[in-house]
C-alpha cells in the first residue's frame, strides 16, 4: 500500500460498541416487490415536489411522478410500475409522527421500466448538462439531511471547490449500508465520483473510510486503481462521519461557524449519492432504490437490502424476520442520531438503517439527575462546544446566551449525552431550544411585517381621508359659486315683482335658521341621527326579515327617534318662530 496522505484528528468523540457484525453476514439482499408504495412529496429539507400525475394514472418504473418546486426541491420517480392509488396524507418517518402528503402507488407486479436514456459518453458533456441529469433523476443526498444534490453542488457558485470529499465513514453503530454498498458496487461508485469530479473539477478527491471496514476499503482501492481518487483509511471514532468532522479529518480545515464547507473550498457527498449519480448518468435510471440496513436483536435475519424507496417499513422488517413480541423500540437511523418511527411509515431517500431494538438493546433512559459539573461532555464534544453551559442556559431558557455559546453549531451527534453520568437528555434539550429560538425569530419577523402593513394601512386611510376632505371642500366651493351665480342671474333677469316674491322667502328662511340656538341645532342633529339609525335598521331588517335580533332593535330606535323629534319641536316652538 502506498503511504496515504496526512490525516488530522477531531477533538472529542466517543467509542461506543460498534454492533456492525450482525448485519454484514448475509451480504446484500433484494426483497420482493411490495404491494403498495408510499412516496412522500418531501423527503429532505426544502419544499415539496409538485405532483404531475393523478389518482388512477398508470405509471411505469422510473416515470416522473412529481417535479421540483423551488430552489430546495427534488423530483420524485416511480420505483416500480403500477397504478396511482391516491395523493393524500400518509404516514411519514419523522420524529413528530405527523403525516405528510404522499403519492400512493399500487404495484402491478410487472416492474416494467419506462424508456431510459443512458449516457455512456458522459465525459464529453458539459457540467451544466450533467447537473441537469442529476437534477432530473431526483437525487438528494443519501446520508444526513439529504439536500437535493444539484442544489448542493451549486451552493456557492462563486467559490472555487478544490477538494471533493466522499463520505464513506459510516461512523454510527449498527449501520452498515454504505459498507455493503462499497463491497458490491465499488466500480460504479468510483465512476460516480469521477462524474462529480468532472462537474466540480477539484484539485483532489478524498474518500474517507473508517478502518472497521477492511473489505470495503480493499474493494474501493481495487476499483480506484489508476484513478485520481485517494481512498483514505481513518481511525474508527464516532462521529467521524459528520460532514464537518470528516472534512476536518481529511483536510485539516474547519468549516466556519454558520458557514458551509463550500466556503473553505470543500464539497462533501455521501458514497451512496455517488452511486446514485452513476446510475442516473451512465444507466439513465432515476433514484428509486437505496441500500438499507435492517438490524437489531428483534430480527431473526439482520441483513442489508436494496430497498425500493417508498417500501413500508413493516414489509422490510418482515423480510428480515421480525419477532414482534421482542420489539421494544423501532428506530430509523442509528442508536445515536436515530428517531423512533411507526412501522407503517415508508423508507425514504435518507433512510439508511432500521434498528428493531429489544428492551435490552435500547433500554428506556434512566431518570435524569442534576448536572454534577464533571465536564465530561465538553471533552466529548467534536465541535468544541461547552455542552454543560448550553445545558444551564437551556434550563434557564436564556436564548441570547445559547446563541452566543454557538448552540446552532451543535451537530446533535449525542456524544455529550452518551458520556453524561447523570443521564441528562442533552440533545433533546438542545433540539427543543433550537426549535424555540427559530419559532421566536419567525414570530418576530412576522410581527414586524404585520406592523409595517398596519402602518401602511393607517397612512393610506389618512391619505384617503385627506383626499375626501379636499374633494368635499372643492365641491362646496363650486356649489357656493354656482349658487351665487344663479342668484345673481335670477336677480338680474327677473323684473321687479320677482325680487319682491323671492326676497321675503329668503329672508324668512334665513331668519328661521339664524334664530336656532346652539342647543336647538344640537337637537336637530340628534333628531336627524336618530332618523338615519332607524332607516338603516329598517333596511337591514328588510334584507334579513327572519333575524330576531334585528326585529328587536326596531322599536327602541323608533322610540328614540320620536323622543328626539319631539324634543327639537318643543325647543323650537318655544321660540315661536
Amino acid at each position: 500500500m502506498s503511504a496515504q496522505p496526512r490525516i488530522w484528528d477531531i477533538p472529542g468523540g466517543i467509542h461506543p460498541p460498534e454492533n456492525k457484525i450482525q448485519s454484514t453476514a448475509r451480504g446484500l439482499e433484494h426483497p420482493s416487490l411490495p404491494a403498495r408504495l408510499i412516496l412522500p412529496l418531501l423527503q429532505h429539507i426544502g419544499s415539496r415536489a409538485k405532483p404531475v400525475v393523478n389518482a388512477g394514472d398508470r405509471v411505469l418504473k422510473g416515470q416522473l411522478l412529481a417535479v421540483t418546486d423551488g430552489k430546495f426541491s427534488c423530483s420524485l420517480h416511480a420505483p416500480t410500475s403500477g397504478i396511482i392509488s391516491a395523493i393524500e396524507n400518509a404516514p411519514y418517518p419523522h420524529a413528530s409522527g405527523l403525516h405528510e402528503p404522499a403519492i400512493i402507488l399500487d404495484s402491478d407486479g410487472e416492474d416494467r421500466w419506462t424508456e431510459l436514456q443512458p449516457t455512456a459518453g458522459w465525459r464529453s458533456l458539459e457540467p451544466v448538462a450533467l447537473l441537469d441529469l442529476i437534477d432530473s433523476a431526483g437525487i438528494s443526498g443519501l446520508g444526513g439531511a439529504g439536500f437535493p444534490a444539484a442544489a448542493k453542488l451549486l451552493s456557492r457558485p462563486d467559490h472555487r471547490i478544490d477538494t471533493l470529499v466522499i463520505n464513506a465513514a459510516e461512523c454510527e453503530p449498527y449501520i452498515t449500508a454504505d459498507d455493503m454498498c462499497m463491497r458490491h458496487y465499488a466500480t460504479q461508485i468510483i465512476t460516480g465520483i469521477q462524474i462529480l469530479s468532472h462537474i466540480l473539477n477539484p484539485e483532489r478527491v478524498l474518500v474517507g473510510i473508517e478502518d472497521n471496514k477492511p473489505e470495503a476499503i480493499a474493494a474501493m482501492r481495487a476499483a480506484a486503481e489508476g484513478e485520481p481518487v485517494s481512498i483514505i483509511e481513518i481511525p474508527t471514532k464516532y462521529p467521524s462521519g459528520g460532514e464537518k468532522q470528516l472534512i476536518q479529518i481529511l483536510t485539516g480545515r474547519e468549516v466556519p461557524s454558520g458557514g458551509l464547507p463550500a466556503d473553505i473550498g470543500v464539497l462533501c457527498q455521501n458514497v451512496g449519492t455517488a452511486l446514485a449519480v452513476h446510475d442516473a448518468v451512465v444507466l439513465g435510471r432515476p433514484l428509486i432504490h437505496r441500500v438499507v440496513t435492517l438490524t437489531g436483536a428483534a430480527l431473526e435475519r439482520p441483513t442489508n437490502v436494496m430497498a425500493l424507496i417508498g417500501t413500508p417499513i413493516h414489509e422490510l422488517l418482515a423480510f428480515a424476520g421480525l419477532q414482534p413480541e421482542r420489539l421494544h423500540r423501532l428506530v430509523m437511523g442509528g442508536p445515536m442520531m436515530g428517531f423512533t418511527v411507526d412501522s407503517a411509515a415508508p423508507v425514504i431517500k435518507t433512510s439508511n438503517c432500521l434498528l428493531a431494538g429489544t428492551i435490552d438493546e435500547l433500554p428506556p433512559p434512566p431518570p435524569p439527575l442534576p448536572c454534577i459539573r464533571c465536564g465530561l461532555c465538553a471533552e466529548a464534544c467534536p465541535a468544541e462546544l461547552l455542552p454543560q453551559q448550553l445545558h444551564w442556559f437551556a434550563l434557564g431558557k436564556d436564548y441570547p446566551q445559547l446563541e452566543r455559546y454557538n448552540l446552532f453549531d451543535c451537530i446533535e451527534c449525542g456524544a455529550c449525552a452518551y458520556v453524561c453520568p447523570s443521564h441528562i437528555p442533552l440533545v433533546h434539550q438542545y433540539r427543543a431550544a433550537k426549535s424555540e429560538i427559530r419559532s421566536i425569530e419567525l414570530q418576530h419577523s412576522r410581527a414586524d411585517h404585520s406592523r409595517r402593513r398596519f402602518e401602511e394601512r393607517q397612512a393610506r386611510l389618512e391619505r384617503e381621508a385627506e383626499q375626501r376632505e379636499r374633494d368635499r371642500q372643492a365641491r362646496a366651493e363650486r356649489a357656493a359659486r354656482a349658487k351665487a351665480a344663479r342668484e345673481a342671474k335670477a336677480a338680474s333677469e327677473k323684473d321687479t315683482p320677482a325680487p319682491v316674491a323671492v326676497a321675503p322667502d329668503l329672508a324668512r328662511i334665513q331668519a328661521k335658521n339664524s334664530t336656532l340656538t346652539p342647543e336647538q341645532k344640537q337637537l336637530k342633529v340628534a333628531a336627524s341621527t336618530a332618523r338615519m339609525a332607524l332607516q338603516r335598521a329598517r333596511k337591514q331588517l328588510a334584507a334579513n326579515p327572519d333575524n330576531l335580533d334585528l326585529q328587536a332593535q326596531i322599536p327602541p330606535l323608533e322610540q328614540a327617534y320620536a323622543d328626539a323629534q319631539r324634543a327639537f319641536e318643543q325647543a323650537t316652538s318655544q321660540e315661536g318662530s
Binding site: 405528510e100 433533546h428 404585520s450
Partner: protein, 190 residues
C-alpha cells in the same frame, strides 16, 4: 460674620456656575420623543387586536413605557412577556387572565358560500389581510393574517371562523424535556 457672608457668596457663585453648565447640557443633550417606545413596540406581536385594552400595539407600548404592567398581551403569550421583562429589567409576570387567554396561533377563515361581499371585514382588518371588493368574494390571505379576531364581529352573516394553524413537519417543534430533579425534591410528590 464675614465668614458666613463669604460662605454664602462662595456657595452662591458655585451654584450659579454649575447651574449654567447644567442648563447648557440640558439644551445640548435634549432627547426628542421616546425611543424606548419603538423598542417595546418591536417586541409586541402587532396583531392590533385591542385585547390589552388599548386601541392597537403602539398605544400599549406607550402605556408600558409609562409603567403599565407588561402581562396584558394574550397573542404575544409568555415569550413576549419574557422578552419585555428582559428589555425593561423587570420581573416577568404571568399573563393577566382578565385580558384573554393565551391561545395557539389562529387564522381567520371565511366560509365563501355564505359571504355576501359587504366589505365590512375588509374595513375591520388592521393589516389588510382580506382580499375582496364590494359584491365580490372575500377571502383571507393566510400568510398575512395575524389572528387578531377583529373581523369576526363586523360580519353581518357571521361567516368567519377562527381556526388554529395546522401543525406540519415544517413548523413542528421539539418540546423541552422536564428538568432533572434530585430525589429529595420528589419526596412528597407521589
Amino acid at each position: 460674620m464675614s465668614i458666613v457672608l463669604t460662605a454664602i457668596v462662595v456657595l452662591l457663585v458655585l451654584s450659579l456656575i454649575f447651574g449654567a453648565v447644567l442648563g447648557y447640557a440640558a439644551v445640548r443633550f435634549r432627547v426628542e420623543g421616546d425611543p424606548i417606545v419603538d423598542q417595546i413596540n418591536a417586541l409586541l406581536p402587532q396583531t392590533q387586536c385591542g385585547q390589552c385594552g388599548h386601541p392597537g400595539c403602539r398605544p400599549y407600548a406607550e402605556a408600558i413605557a409609562n409603567g403599565e404592567p407588561i402581562n396584558r398581551c394574550p397573542p404575544g403569550g409568555e415569550s413576549t412577556i419574557q422578552a419585555l421583562a428582559d428589555l425593561l429589567d423587570v420581573e416577568p409576570l404571568p399573563l393577566d387572565g382578565e385580558h384573554g387567554e393565551a391561545k395557539p396561533p389562529m387564522v381567520a377563515y371565511i366560509r365563501e358560500d355564505e359571504c355576501i361581499g359587504c366589505t365590512k371585514c375588509i374595513q375591520a382588518c388592521p393589516v389588510d389581510a382580506i382580499l375582496g371588493a364590494a359584491k365580490q368574494m372575500h377571502t383571507v390571505i393566510i400568510d398575512e393574517c395575524t389572528g387578531c379576531d377583529l373581523c369576526v364581529e363586523p360580519c353581518p352573516v357571521d361567516c368567519i371562523d377562527m381556526l388554529p394553524l395546522p401543525v406540519t413537519t415544517q413548523n413542528w417543534g421539539w418540546i423541552a424535556p422536564p428538568p432533572p430533579t434530585l430525589v429529595a425534591d420528589q419526596r412528597g410528590v407521589s
